[in-house]
Amino acid sequence: MSGGLRRARATAGRVLARPAALVSVVFLAVTIFVSLTAEWLLPLDPLYQDLAASLEPPGATYWFGTDELGRDILARVIYGARTSLLTAAGAVLIAGLIGVPIGLVAGYFGGWRDAVLMRVVDVMLALPGILFAMAMIAVLGRSQMAALVAVGVTGIPGFARITRAQVLSLRQRDFVLAVEALGGSASYNMFRTVLPNAWSPILVQVVILSSVAILLEAALAFLGVGIPPPTPSWGEMLRTGKSYLHEAPTYAVLPGIALTLTILSLDTLGRVLASVLEDRREIVEEDAAEAAELRQGQR
């Protein structure tokens, strides 16, 4: 395990040697830290309504103004980060826990298992991601859980495809065939021999999908089918802020900045990680762009 740890540390060192990646990691670390410790660190309440001071412009009391119910926009942006990050984490977990095994089985066994699993993945890709998520929410009803599941399920094909491609390239390697020849069970071989060697692209996918999940969650909230109020959400704030562009032009600005910076940080980190881990920048970039942007189509 210490070898793995050493490699992880070396990779982290090479990633952080790039200024853009360092800035991204610092921004993400601060965002995560502040959003998770907001109760203890900051005297801000995202739900407190100061109705006498609704739609205030930025000022001394409320640095970024207040919303239509007199709630502190800064507080809601900070707590909105928590909503975004937790949804992304949960969604990536769902997508990975289902998508990676699908890719493993399809790539390892091939044959009818591969055909069936990949057809199912094709069906999921037959709709732009946001429509797939909306269809799921139409069935499940609008709730925090529905948003989480919809975003998570939308990410399954990405994990399945990337894992499958990686497994296919490893399947006929000597060390995999050796375990097979020595009588290692298929599940042992898949999870203990193949998977540990397929981590790099999966890790890159985790970062890329986090960015996609944050954007998708915000888009769903913006469309009014995401996490229901009063939970603070950047997408929901943009949705409401859009109704008050004349009265409070700054309302919709801060949540958008927070959302954009988070997405840009994750995108940058994903690209750098891909180039460091894989040393095949162009290919990964295309994979990433195709998988994440074209197929998700959250526009």
Partner: protein
């Protein structure tokens, strides 16, 4: 070539079949009964019984699916719960608006993306390349709904040059009015898609610039302008056509978020409204329609690619 097209279409059959089951089953998966989902919560017992008989919900499941599918294949998705009008007509009424927005966005994307890609591919690694690459990353990272809001703030609220709400005006009937209404939504989508275009075209140009024929062309003394303009561009544009086609497919399939920002009356907005009032026949119709268009467009892109590039084998 014909075999290739037929084969690609045949591959769609299992995907469309599975997807159609999924879309059909949506109504059954809704908490409560499909009848409740279709007639709404305040239905009288007569309405419920009428719906059960009319939809044949007392028949076996495979029969129900079969009759739904038979209708769907000829465009009969039933009546919208909300408006009592045929779903097919409601969708068709929105198609021109969505196509017009998609095309306008592609044009904006090309106008911005192609020059960005060409310039940065000609001076790779330079500060210009870095700035332009940063532009692409920004264009891809900024959420369209926020960019749309910023554009509305600037051009509609502050400067008052353009409307903040975009209606559909046919470009063929009133070009000026169409541009006025389309400019902001097309810019919003176009900036995003320019990032994709720039990134792909740059990668593809850099790949071509390393090719042997470029060295040959240069060594025989061809001016750099011709090397790039006549040789490199032609080859680099081949894979690029695929990307443009895929984006068009995605946009024709619906530009849900951008339509919501500008309350633009396209298919995406129809779907959002349908979800809002739980109008299930309309939801099913919209999703199936988008799905079919999207997968067919994807096949068309592949076929087009095989057609323009003779090096592709029709396997």
């Amino acid at each position: 070539m014909t075999t290739y097209i037929l084969r690609r279409l045949a591959q769609l059959v299992p995907v469309l079949f599975l997807a159609s089951i999924g879309i059909w089953a949506m109504v059954y998966a809704v908490p409560g009964s499909p009848v409740g989902a279709i007639v709404g919560e305040n239905a009288t017992p007569e309405q419920i019984q009428d719906t059960i008989t009319r939809l044949g919900l007392d028949r076996p499941l495979y029969e129900q699916y079969w009759s739904w599918l038979r209708g769907a294949v000829v465009g009969d998705f039933g009546l919208s719960i909300q408006s009592r009008e045929p779903v097919w007509g409601l969708i068709m009424a929105r198609v021109p608006a969505t196509i017009q927005l998609g095309l306008a966005a592609i044009v904006v994307g090309l106008v911005i993306g192609v020059p960005v890609a060409v310039v940065s591919a000609l001076v790779p690694g330079s500060w210009i390349d870095r700035v332009l690459s940063a532009w692409s990353a920004l264009a891809l990272g900024v959420p369209t709904f926020w960019l749309g809001i910023l554009l509305i703030l600037l051009f509609a609220v502050e400067l008052r040059w353009l409307p903040s709400v975009s209606t559909y005006v046919s470009f063929l009937e009133d070009p000026l009015g169409a541009v006025r209404n389309l400019l902001l939504p097309a810019l919003t989508l176009g900036v995003y898609v320019s990032g994709i275009f720039a990134r792909f075209l740059r990668a593809s140009l850099l790949g071509e610039l390393k090719a042997d024929y470029v060295r040959t062309a240069r060594s025989k003394g061809l001016p750099e302008r011709d090397v790039v303009g006549r040789h490199v561009m032609r080859n680099a544009l081949l894979p690029f056509v695929t990307i443009v086609g895929l984006m068009l497919a995605a946009f024709v399939g619906g530009t849900v978020v951008t339509e919501a920002v500008f309350t633009y009356p396209g298919i995406g907005r129809l779907l959002i409204q349908a979800i809002g009032v739980r109008d299930y026949p309309l939801i099913q119709g919209c999703i199936l329609f988008v799905l079919v268009i999207y997968v067919l467009m994807n096949v068309m892109v592949d076929v087009l690619y095989a057609y323009i590039d003779p090096r592709i084998e029709y396997r």
